[in-house]
Symmetry: C2
């Protein structure tokens, strides 16, 4: 591919389902000229309760699919896949791939004064201990407290965002974190920003809530610039957004339209197991 062609080539963004749309939204804000292909693995969602082997295999299939769309870079917009599969797929594929864990960890390291950071995420993300490993590579003195909150995803997906039950579940999971000296907490799952106001209300103002989506989009921007492949609009198409899922396209489209600041028109279904 020529550099001019590469500049207008799309960025691939993938997630286990709809959560990664919060990351795509941030990318489209910070890199308004980029074309983006989004893939949500709605046939096999959620990843957070599944094994590393399968999360790696699912990620490889999705990357092979995205490569058929000539993507110039890939963002794993799923904390579980970033934690469990990033290293493996970076070794295996030539296309540049970034995840959300390293940018999220860096933001927390920059923010914490007490040198105590909390991380909330799915079972798989927390069991991998990946946030702790990455933070300790950057700053070995920081104490990291990780806590799995597996009910947060179904509560968001089933429309309980504003229900009192969600407040009780937040208290159940986060009470032990509130009684510590952490002053930064990473929302280590792309669904959790949708509970942000309730989480903030429970944790109080002294704790900074870190959403890795913002930092991930910054990292992507840097990467494209370094490689000279950012889309400056001079070489062709801009702002082309395509959405693919492995199941239930209409349900996805409806949800996407509640999250994205633009209209999501059609969503295409892909048999991802064939890749």
């Amino acid at each position: 591919m020529k550099v001019t062609e590469k500049k207008s080539a799309p960025i691939g963004v993938f997630d286990s389902g709809v959560g990664g749309l919060t990351v795509m939204r941030e990318i489209s804000r910070q890199l308004p000229c980029e074309n983006i292909i989004y893939f949500g693995d709605t046939a096999r969602v959620p990843y957070g309760s599944k094994s590393q082997n399968n999360v790696i295999r699912f990620s490889e299939q999705i990357i092979r699919f995205l490569q058929t769309k000539q993507v110039k870079a890939i963002v794993i917009a799923c904390n579980t896949a970033s934690a469990l599969a990033l290293e493996s797929v970076q070794e295996r594929f030539a296309v540049p791939i970034i995840g959300v864990v390293i940018p999220g960890a860096r933001a927390a390291v920059e923010v914490t004064q007490n040198r105590k950071v909390g991380v909330v995420g799915t079972d798989a993300t927390v069991q991998s201990g990946m946030y702790t490993k990455v933070i300790h590579k950057m700053a070995p003195d920081i104490v990291v407290l990780e806590k799995a909150c597996p009910l947060f995803v179904p509560l968001v997906e089933e429309g309980f965002k504003e229900h009192v039950v969600t407040e009780e579940v937040i208290e159940y999971y986060l009470d032990s974190l509130r009684n510590t000296e952490i002053d930064a907490m990473i929302l280590g799952c792309t669904h959790y920003p949708l509970l942000r106001s309730k989480i903030r209300a429970f944790m109080g103002d002294k704790i900074q809530i870190v959403n890795p989506a913002y930092e991930t989009a910054m990292d992507l921007k840097k990467l494209l610039k370094q490689q000279g492949i950012e889309n400056d609009g001079a070489a062709g198409e801009c702002k082309r957004y395509e959405f693919y899922v492995s199941d239930a396209a209409e349900k996805f489209r409806k949800f996407a339209n509640t999250v994205m600041p633009f209209d999501v028109p059609t969503t295409n279904v892909v048999n991802i197991e064939e890749y």
Copy 2:
């Protein structure tokens, strides 16, 4: 296969995950001599939020896998797959296949005096309206009220069975059913029997709770007898139980050991997408 061989051939039982173990448990009680192969699709669980096309495709793959084990009959121990895929796979495969919806519907029809029946299940099961269709084939005069309770499965899987949050979610979903004249309610998802005591406490004594597992095992018994292929122990092996999953075998084994009345020793992982 000779009839004597067929008698000792195993029964295949499958589910999207662990829920179908409640059905296998009932089969092993009522048919104590049968050999059983259980398959739980833990890599793609849950089915309740997925489309009919994919649930049919997943079911076909599992049936092809079970056929490599020379099963003499198959029980779909998952309400969603029974509701969405049974007719399609019965047309496609020669092996006898039964689901849980028809037996569950029949039990409710026999029990109701008021001719008003409630059904609770996953989104996909309720949207299919299959319980209503099947009940109306048996008794067109019965009023059927179906209600999706999508949070029940994650509450069970995340260990909130005894938590007050579960009581509130039960109230949230079932309040509208309690204020009707139903006198029978089908637990149309294999996870729900694990919440039975809390559901009963909320719904009161006047409503009979129907668990399709018992009736399904009865139907299977009848089927094997009709075809003369029940295992009488004369022709070889008895009570051989094998467990297969598509992911996270150890987690499955631990859960299975809390549900089954015997020790579940090893669980094998199968790459089900290859079938």
